[in-house]
């Protein structure tokens, strides 16, 4: 019997089968019971309807590090009907795609309303199969098709021997539906009971008294929240005093826009859905000129379209936070698949040269804390600050104690903003030469501190100039801010383990968790490594990194792109040779990818390992998703 440690994957037809309704409810119930939930690989298509969708939840007693490769304990297939367009029956889609990943002794539940599915192979591997005519029960018995997912939920609760008295589930339903009337709550409870009854029958007819997995509530003092990386960025932005946010809808950045549209007005802020990518960023720049902390969020194509404005923010020394939730590129690429392909863009994009800061989040906690830091740094250095995230994080969910947000709150500090009372005499110089490179900044409406700000080269007063030595001085003033940052605010990479004489595994972004998991797996095999994980990537903190890198026996950079963008940066900045483990098939790194890749590099003979050939669903014919 495995207690409080399983990976549950729900699959179905996108939009129609409401896959995430099931996983959302389950996730919340588990978290309310004090369990830990990690759901980092939401599989969905960029078309709205009809493609395969899946959502795996890892549930455990302690915070899980990783999502257990692609192995699944419990598979739930919500498809029910046959589709003449597909060469294979669609109520087998989830089973065909994910069935092969079911562990020995795992569990399969599928909707058998239309037809039974041939599962003898799975059964031979010891998988317990539960055909559940959920849709049929919902339509025929409950006269309400939407309850089909509650029927499945009820079945699952039974199989997991969890919340059998519906204390948690009932409360959830009341919270959600009581406003629509008691009836809605009751029919859902009834649906759950029907699901339970159906699987009871299968259990007993097979002579099973358990499925071998069980979830047990853990008494937990702290209320927990289950939220995505984007929601964490949204919260971090609110707490950092961001009061103007704009964005043009784009996957997977839209959920930040939607979160802030909902919450920011309550904090006195405004949120603008741009009519295009450039209106978005320009309005955010204008808002910053008027004094408010502002941000713009987008993904790949929308970031590429804003490049000209990054340069403007840098040249005019206008603070701006730019959130790039990376997805698989290039071009439209794979809008709902993950990648870390925009690092070089964040560091270099744009003609000419500007000061800029690039932060990168690797966990949902870091989405929150780095969002806060991004606004602070933008304010202090009056330059664009990029906050990189990636699709695995944006859509991934994890439980965090509420205290994570309520305790240790940092106050908002407006750096270097000049008030009328600070002004002496006439000669306010917006771009005054200072040792730090940071000049006193005024906002529109400040008596005595009128400014003329331009993206055209200018002198200290804002006067347009092409005078060679003034130009040289102004370039150097702007770039000096990056030296100041390196002295005052740069953070070294996070180091896990001792670097001395062992292979270093470097990474950034959502690779953090599988990287640490792979480290543990390699350690178990007797291979000691040290993980060097970057959050503060640019300006590159050479002084903090180079000595560290030289301590290791070799350097293997693990990242989700083709080139090895961080590896290139390290080579450029530290002149240290790198090996690379790269994945760019759209799926996040699994622990096995990293452990395998590192083993291959350490075995010698290759410096670049490109993983992901045998991807989970590569074997079957897949009906394409559209775009």
């Amino acid at each position: 019997m495995v207690v409080n440690n399983l990976k549950l994957l729900v699959g179905g037809v996108q939009l129609r089968d409401a896959v995430t309704t099931v996983t959302d409810i389950l996730g919340k119930l588990f978290v309310r019971a004090g369990l830990h939930v990690l759901a980092m690989e939401r599989g969905y298509a960029s078309t709205i309807y009809g493609a395969h969708q899946f959502d795996p939840l890892v549930v455990s007693a302690t915070p899980p590090l990783s999502y257990g490769d692609d192995r699944t304990d419990i598979l739930v297939a919500l498809e029910h009907d046959a589709n003449p367009d597909a060469s294979i029956q669609p109520n087998r889609d989830t089973i065909l795609r994910h069935g092969k990943n079911l562990k020995e002794g795992g569990v399969l539940i599928y909707d058998s309303s239309a037809d039974a599915v041939e599962t003898s192979e799975l059964k031979a591997r010891g998988v317990k199969v539960f055909p559940l005519a959920a849709r049929q029960i919902a339509q025929r018995d409950l006269k309400m098709e939407v309850t089909k997912n509650t029927i499945v939920t009820g079945a699952l609760l039974r199989l997991l021997e969890f919340d059998m008295d519906y204390a948690l589930f009932g409360a959830y339903l009341e919270g959600r539906f009581l406003s629509k009337g008691r009836g809605v709550v009751d029919i859902n409870l009834e649906a759950a009971r029907r699901g339970r009854a159906a699987v009871e029958e299968i259990l007993s007819s097979n002579g099973w008294d358990t499925i071998g997995y069980r979830l047990e509530p853990r008494p937990s003092a702290l209320p927990n929240l289950l939220l995505t990386g984007n929601e964490a960025i949204g919260m971090g932005s609110v707490m950092a005093g961001c009061r103007f946010y704009s964005g043009y809808p784009i996957t997977p950045a839209t959920s930040i826009l939607e979160f802030l549209e909902k919450h920011l007005p309550r904090y006195g802020g405004r949120v603008l859905q741009g009519q295009n990518e450039r209106e978005s960023i320009r309005a955010a720049i204008g808002a910053s000129i008027a004094g408010v902390r502002s941000a713009v969020g987008s993904s790949g194509p929308g970031i590429s379209l804003k490049v000209e404005e990054f340069g403007l923010s840098g040249a005019t020394e206008t603070p701006l936070v730019i959130i790039d939730t990376q997805r698989a590129g290039p071009a439209t690429g794979m809008p709902t698949k993950s990648e870390q392909g925009d690092l070089a863009m964040a560091v270099y994009a744009g003609h000419g040269e500007i000061p800029r800061i690039v932060l990168s989040a690797g966990t949902i906690e870091e989405c929150y804390s780095l969002a806060f830091e991004a606004f602070d740094l933008a304010d202090k250095y009056q330059c664009p600050v990029f906050l990189l995230s990636d699709l695995t994080l944006t859509d991934g969910r994890k439980n965090l104690p509420q205290t994570f947000f309520t305790e240790n709150q940092k106050p908002v500090v407006r750096h270097g903003l000049v008030r009328a009372s600070d002004i002496e005499g006439d000669g306010y110089h917006r771009f005054a030469m200072t040792p730090s490179g940071i000049s006193p900044r005024s906002i529109v409406g400040t008596p005595g501190a009128i400014f003329k700000v331009s993206g055209t080269e200018h002198d200290e007063t804002g006067l347009i100039t092409t005078d060679p030595s003034k130009r040289k001085a102004m370039v150097e003033k702007r770039m000096r801010k990056m030296q100041t940052y390196l002295r005052e605010d740069a953070k070294p990479p996070q180091v896990f383990g001792s670097p001395d004489g062992v292979p270093l595994l470097a990474g950034w972004g959502s690779t953090k968790m599988p990287l640490l998991d792979a480290q543990a797996r390699l350690r178990a095999e007797g291979t000691e490594t040290c993980v060097v994980y970057f959050t503060h990537i640019w300006p590159f903190p050479v002084h903090l990194v180079a000595p560290l890198l030289r301590q290791g026996s070799e350097l293997i950079v693990v990242e989700q792109n083709y080139a090895g963008q961080l590896a290139d940066l390290i080579q450029q900045e530290c002149l240290v040779e790198t090996s690379r483990v790269l994945k760019y098939n759209g799926r996040p790194f699994y622990t096995a990818d990293i452990a395998g890749g590192v083993r291959q590099v350490l075995a010698g003979g290759t410096r670049v390992v490109r993983v992901g050939e045998e991807a989970p669903d590569a074997a079957i014919v897949i009906v394409p998703e559209g775009d």
Binding site: K28, V31, R32, P223, N224, L225, L226, E231, G234, M235, V238, M239, G241, R243, F244, H263, R266, Y267, G268, G269, R270, L272, Q275, R278, E279, I281, R282, A283, I285, G286, A287, S288, I289, A290, G291, V292, E308, E309, L312, T316, Q402, F405, T406, P411, V412, R414, I443, V444, G445, P447, I450, F451, K452, V453, S454, G455, T456, G462, L463, I464
Partner: protein, 289 residues
């Protein structure tokens, strides 16, 4: 907007700080716009620090530097976007975009149409000279005004009319003026600045160097003041007026259309530390439990 102080006139008429040497060609229409802006701002009684001038890229956009008041100058085609953001933050500001026909109607078309729809209470003085001045004389989207073209190509399409476009897109104030008559311009500008929504002033401002067709004289011959009786609050009347002037080969000068939309008032957004203390995250928690 603060009350007119006695010193305001001097503030607007004195040299801007920092003092940019005016580098328009002698006779450039933009001199008239600059003069008219000074008159209008004096009349508004607003203080320079309360004003944000957002310049386009072009000869026209330089106006921001020759005039007092805060100046921001971003990317080509961008003034309306920046201005929108600033205005949304602080409704108390007087926000004025100053840009050319290329900046506004070529590369800036994406902003122009949508800002007309959004209707923020700010003005755009469009210095329309029918040419790209600053890049030395290429065709702009208003090139060809008054010329009859027998045959078009994809390369050389007919001109667009910013007044008609603005009305179609939903702007609530559309006027025209001629920079050769700064007094009239100033009258129009004041109305534009006072309008509680987006105000377009299409100001014919000749480029003496590169547009040898739409010269000052040409504008003087073709411009005609809008008759007293015109009711600018009537959209159909505005359209009919444009049709009538078009038919007669004339350019209407004055307020063509003015009909404020009902808009929600907004307070200034929190900016200062004291407005950002004790932020409580709890109201955001509910969806995550």
């Amino acid at each position: 907007m603060s009350v007119a102080s006695p010193g305001t006139a001097k503030l607007w008429e004195q040299n801007a700080f920092p003092r940019h040497r005016i580098q328009w060609c002698p006779g450039c229409g933009d001199f008239g716009v600059l003069a008219a802006l000074k008159m209008a701002l004096v009349r508004m009684g607003v203080m320079p620090h309360e004003v944000l001038l957002v310049g386009g890229i072009g000869c026209s956009g330089q106006t921001r530097n020759y005039l007092n008041g805060n100046g921001f100058h971003g990317t080509h085609g961008g003034p309306l976007g920046y201005a929108l953001g600033a205005k949304m933050v602080d409704p108390g500001l007087t926000v004025i975009a100053l840009a050319g026909d290329g900046d506004t109607l070529a590369i800036g078309m994406e902003s122009f149409i949508h800002v007309c729809r959004r209707d923020p209470a700010m003005a755009l003085i469009l210095m329309n000279n029918g040419v790209y001045g600053l890049t030395r004389g290429q065709d702009s989207p208003t090139t060809g005004l008054g010329k009859i073209m027998e045959e078009h190509t994809e390369e050389h399409p007919p001109f667009v009319d910013p007044a008609r476009l603005a009305i179609t897109a939903g702007a609530t104030f559309v006027a025209q003026s001629f920079s050769g008559d700064p007094k009239h311009c100033a009258d129009v500008y004041v109305e534009a600045f006072r309008h509680p929504g987006f105000a377009l002033v299409n100001d014919f401002s000749p480029c003496v160097t590169y547009n040898k067709f739409n010269t000052s004289n040409w504008y003087r011959e073709h411009g005609e003041h809008i008759p007293e009786g015109h009711d600018p609050s009537d959209r159909a009347a505005a359209w009919a007026l444009l049709d009538d002037f078009d038919r007669r080969g004339k350019l209407p000068l004055g307020i063509i259309y003015r009909a404020p939309r009902r808009k929600k008032a907004h307070a200034r957004l929190p900016i200062w530390e004291e407005e950002l203390t004790g932020i409580d995250p709890a109201p955001m928690f509910s969806a995550f439990r």
